[in-house]
């Protein structure tokens, strides 16, 4: 399993980086496109590969299949003519955001660059599993509003990929109504963590002062493929019910891998069955919304589809839990997807996500347990004892 930590310039750049990360880790990009003209709007000042033999003011052509007309200028070079910094000259069209993109022209060779383009991005990717034989389909679309000041990802999962169909109509995708899981990001620099293998990818992003997390891919099922062939989980942090901005603080804005909550959308348990709007969706022959509670209170348990131990009645036994008393270490518990009604089932565990107490704990702590590193992630803006999970980095 691989992980990567870094900084992204904005919500679109984060997706560009994610695509690069997962395609290096047993995922195949099925669709990577923009809703815009493909004009380059920003070039990373530092090249990916510096090349050699360049001169200041060299103008380089951006070489990418489908794109034309974009150029960049060399601003500074090192002693061997290696490019240190460059800038965008001509935006061109037909490009798609990427890194390691080849250039041509100028006096040197070997300079590759990273850039972003106009429009909103769409990524559909296929995971090939741990043995490169699986077909696991996930999708992410960026969307934004300058008026609303939100810059987010829309998340989905599919049963397959059809290049003739748009995102919303891909086979087996989460229905457009009720709304799909989202990840609230923003149009500014943010720290991120990617964790992934060919079965699933986890994204954690620090957006200003809050933490967002997404899980796209398979859980670790307790049953063989003959009984549970495609245990696909798509989790974000909300469904847009109470707004889209990262700063929203209410029960409907909550990590889907912990407390997938749409309390505010449903005042009765029966409403939830008819309206599986949830920040965590699970495929078991159809898309299920995972939700622990209704009527916006922990004592109104649905028990329909839930994540143990976060689903406990009023968080009993886990909401006042301290670390191990003799040495201050932490015990991790698996996050288990199950449901009680309409039929009982225990499906399996989220892969690499664990319950951890918030006692004497803090966001971004790294705990080494059993030789593996775990990143502590809070539930968006919360900081109570019960409001943390741990994501395995190694």
């Amino acid at each position: 399993m691989a992980h990567q930590t870094g900084t992204a310039d904005n919500y679109k750049h984060l997706l560009t980086k994610l695509r690069k990360f997962i395609t290096a880790n047993n995922w195949v990009s099925q669709r990577w496109q923009t809703s815009g003209t493909g004009a380059i709007i920003k070039v990373q000042s530092a090249p990916n590969e510096a090349g050699s033999g360049y001169a200041v003011n060299d103008v380089l052509n951006v070489v990418q299949t489908g794109g034309s007309g974009a150029t960049v200028r060399v601003l500074t070079i090192g002693g061997g003519g290696n490019v240190l910094t460059l800038e965008l000259v001509a935006a061109g069209s037909g490009y798609m955001a990427d890194s390691g993109v080849t250039t041509s022209g100028g006096t040197g060779t070997g300079c590759t660059i990273e850039f972003e383009v106009n429009g909103e991005y769409e990524l559909i990717a296929k995971g090939t599993g741990l043995e490169s034989s699986d077909e696991i389909y996930i999708g992410i679309k960026t969307f934004s509003s300058d008026v609303g000041d939100y810059y987010n990802w829309l998340l989905s999962g599919f049963l397959g990929f059809n290049s003739d169909l748009e995102f919303n109509n891909q086979p087996g995708g989460i229905a457009v109504t009720p709304e799909r899981p989202r990840l609230s990001l923003f149009n500014d620099t943010m720290k991120y963590w990617f964790i992934g293998d060919g079965r699933r990818v986890i994204v954690v992003a620090k957006v200003s002062t809050v933490y967002e997390a997404a899980y796209l891919g398979l859980l670790n099922p307790y049953l063989p493929p003959s009984s549970m062939p495609y245990p696909l989980v798509i989790a974000g942090t909300h469904t847009g019910y109470s707004g889209e901005r990262w700063s929203i603080q209410n029960a409907s804005h909550s990590l889907g891998i912990m407390v997938p909550n749409c309390c505010n959308t449903s005042s009765t348990e029966s409403d939830i069955l008819a309206n599986p709007r949830s920040s965590c969706r699970f495929w078991n022959g159809e898309w299920h919304g995972i939700q622990h509670n209704y009527n916006n209170t922990g004592s109104y348990q649905t028990d329909w589809k839930a994540l143990w131990p976060y689903c406990r009645y009023n968080h009993a036994r886990f909401n006042n839990l301290r670390s191990n008393i003799n040495d201050g270490t932490y015990t991790l518990l698996p996050v288990i997807l199950h449901m009680n009604s309409p039929s009982p089932n225990i499906f399996g565990e989220l892969d690499g996500v664990f319950f951890i107490t918030g006692f004497n704990n803090a966001a971004e702590n790294i705990h080494t347990i059993g030789g593996k590193d775990y990143l502590v992630v809070p539930n968006v803006y919360r900081s109570g004892i019960f409001d943390y999970c741990a994501v395995r980095l190694s």
Binding site: L223, Y313, S323, N326, M339
Partner: protein, 326 residues
């Protein structure tokens, strides 16, 4: 690991077989004597002391007992004193036993009752410092007694006895012959399913009581131990909330009749924080509907024997899988 199964002519025959089994498998027998309608058995393994009493239609086997009892009662202690005060109650008034100190107090016990006739079958399981007995008191109806030390989370540290527990299914006050679940909680008024030793300053008695709320009448120690099973499968109240509650409700699964064997977590509530102490590694918990009675399941080289917590027809349908082969 040691394992034995058989039948007994009654509760006093059973305690004799228990004594022999423990002695054969490395326990020190500090005392085994007849008393009133039964026997008192004091055994020791290292620094764990277990005090056991059988009774057959007897009304004052233990402090706080309210009615006649047919069965086995037990508690733990940190030592053995043949001259412990208490007269007929001295058996559960050993040094360091659960319950308040005081000349008129003789400690608390857990009981497994209803053993009014021959025992169709029993199952004894034993490992380094743990023991489990599943007793079929009548065809298809079971009771349990058990003790051991938790596999502690984190560095065990602290006191050498931390994580020591002894238990059965209920306390001696009332309903003491009735069916209750092992590793569960109930009202403190009815007594304590198990007692768990953990040496923290907040609990001068050192023993925590596996109940959903501290009862009156002095039948529970000062603080609560948290249990893996809930008292009731359908309860949605934190007072009944065993650690595994929601998961147990989802067993067996509609898909593949899935019935995971879940860890037997135990923890404690102190005045400031709760602590998940560890798990009893001889036991896994599940529901019996996914298994035949006595079914043996091999997982990772270990063999687990699955038996009903009470019976196959009990409303909760809990089951206990005990490690038979390590």
């Amino acid at each position: 690991m040691a394992y034995e199964t058989g039948s007994a002519t009654g509760v006093n025959d059973l305690i004799g077989k228990l004594k022999t089994f423990l002695e054969t498998n490395g326990y020190t027998i500090n005392s085994f004597t007849a008393i009133k309608t039964g026997y008192r058995l004091h055994v020791q393994k290292g620094d764990l002391y277990i005090n056991i009493r059988s009774a057959f239609n007897e009304t004052y086997v233990a402090q706080n007992q309210s009615s006649a009892f047919w069965g086995i009662a037990l508690n733990g202690s940190t030592g053995y004193d043949a001259g412990a005060p208490g007269g007929d109650l001295a058996w559960h008034n050993q040094p360091g036993r659960p319950g308040p100190t005081g000349t008129s107090q003789y400690g608390f016990v857990s009981v497994a009752g209803g053993m009014t006739a021959a025992i169709p079958s029993y199952y004894f399981f034993l490992d380094t410092d743990g023991f489990v007995a599943c007793i079929e008191i009548s065809t298809g109806v079971f009771r349990w007694i058990y003790w051991g030390k938790l596999t502690m989370f984190g560095n065990a540290g602290g006191n050498a006895l931390d994580g020591f527990f002894t238990g059965a299914v209920i306390g001696p006050y009332s309903y003491l012959n009735e069916p209750y679940n092992p590793f569960s909680n109930t009202s403190g008024d009815y007594g304590v399913c198990f007692f768990l030793y953990f040496n923290v300053p907040e609990n001068t008695q050192k023993w925590f009581s596996a109940v959903n709320a501290l009862g009156g009448y002095g039948r529970t120690t000062g603080l609560i131990a948290y249990t893996p099973f809930s008292n009731s499968l359908m309860a949605n109240n934190e007072n009944y909330a065993g650690y595994l509650h929601n998961l147990i409700r989802s067993i067996p699964g509609n898909l593949g009749n899935l019935s995971p064997l879940l860890p037997c977590f135990m923890g404690v509530a102190t005045p400031t924080r709760d602590t998940l102490l560890g798990h009893f590694d001889m036991v896994r918990l599940t529901r019996i509907a996914g298994f035949t009675t006595g079914q043996e399941v091999s997982l990772g080289g270990k063999t687990w024997k699955v038996l009903p917590a009470i019976s196959r027809t009990d409303v909760n349908g809990y089951a206990v899988a005990v490690k038979k082969v390590a």
